[in-house]
Symmetry: C2
């Protein structure tokens, strides 16, 4: 069944007018007709049945039916990712969405080759991945920001896990399994650029009390692979991988 992310509030009996892009997608790409069923979600009100109520040139209205799932509790997991080339950045965003990241933040580091990151386009990639993977929320994709600016306003209580190829990195599982029994461990994963972090960035990171360096084995992973791997390991130990498919937390 088609799942569509919408911005509007959702409740039973509500009549929803879609914007031209979504109307075009439903009517011309997915070839839906009046009376056809789909699922809609907005990241706040859970997932609902909906039915195509009317269509015309550039518009489509949906009638909201009953609720199929409550919103659940999204994983409190962030991905901070040094900007890399567009297709690989898109892979990272798609996979991070599938793996339940709540926030995705392109960061600018000393050695970042500043490919012009388009956060709006990455946001669309995240919405599409959320529709596909049956998530009930969409990650917040932030505009690219300098790493040092993010670090200077770091939120209290959140660990920053740096994927590192050198230095005093501990195996990822040693770090994550220590957090597994806590009720919640807010975490951000940071992946550096292809050229690695600058020496002074590593030194600064190492001086911060909330930073943990993790290693991901003997091979040198591409940036997007490191992101996917680290997110997977966190979800499997501290996150929601214990839940069944399409499952809801208790």
């Amino acid at each position: 069944m088609i799942r569509l992310f919408v911005e509007d509030p959702l409740s039973q009996g509500f009549l929803l007018g879609l914007d031209a892009t979504r109307a075009h997608y439903l009517i011309h790409v997915m070839r839906m007709n009046i009376g056809d069923s789909l699922l809609v979600f907005n990241g706040r009100d859970g997932e609902w049945h909906a039915e195509v109520e009317g269509t015309g040139k550039g518009w489509c209205s949906l009638k909201i039916g009953d609720k199929t799932r409550d919103r659940g509790y999204p994983s409190d997991l962030w991905l901070l990712m040094a900007a890399i080339k567009k297709p690989r950045m898109a892979i990272a965003v798609e996979k991070a969405t599938e793996l339940g990241a709540g926030l995705i933040w392109p960061v600018i580091t000393r050695h970042t080759v500043m490919a012009n990151v388009n956060s709006e386009k990455l946001s669309l990639t995240a919405i599409e991945a959320a529709e596909q993977c049956e998530r009930l929320d969409v990650p917040d994709v932030r505009p690219p920001t300098a790493l040092m600016d993010i670090l200077s306003k770091w939120p209290e209580g959140r660990s920053l896990v740096v994927c590192a190829e050198t230095g005093n990195a501990r195996p990822a599982m040693d770090v994550f399994s220590g957090w597994a029994r806590e009720p919640a461990h807010p975490t951000a994963i940071l992946v550096g650029p292809e050229g690695g972090f600058a020496k002074e960035e590593l030194e600064y990171l190492a001086s911060l009390p909330f930073v943990h360096f993790i290693g991901l084995g003997p091979r040198i992973l591409r940036a997007e692979t490191a992101a996917i791997t680290a997110l997977s390991l966190w979800q499997a130990t501290c996150g929601d991988f214990g839940l069944p498919p399409r499952g809801e937390p208790d």
Copy 2:
């Protein structure tokens, strides 16, 4: 430093003639000249220094220097992957190589939409990824084969881990952590097609003593994401993620 996979045996002082494709890559793509240094590996003899000894139209010869690393022990991990669309299949092969899979086998299942899988091309993707990630071997990419044929000749002592969205799947970590203390646990990860396995395939798989169904959380992962995630979790628990970057087993 450039790393090049070659087919020939390697030993100190050996003079190696490259084929036209590799010669073109070194001379015209990477713009190397006589006397320039690189690293070579062949999957059997470890990694060696080499120097460009001579070049000409369509050829290049290398002089092999000293050995930089022994071969190590590749992870005994296979990926069996129902054929999916080419770009996503390529992502799966690239990432499986980075994550240390020793064998990658495109499989044909009941619901596989048989995109024409080109194993030779996927093999090139694997070689490129191995060069990039500093592996000392290259995964063996097999030609596409019917799942049932593979199962009928299943090697003794190897577990088959099926990524499943339904059924009696256990969380991946529950299964893998049980194997973590064994000296080695030969494993194959099986990922089904986008349409899932057929009912009779699932029933047959469930009847086999070497099969374990694992779940990868509440979201529905794309096939290549499931592959990357499952390989990551296996390496982190049963594999070589405890080793430092570029590290060698004791």
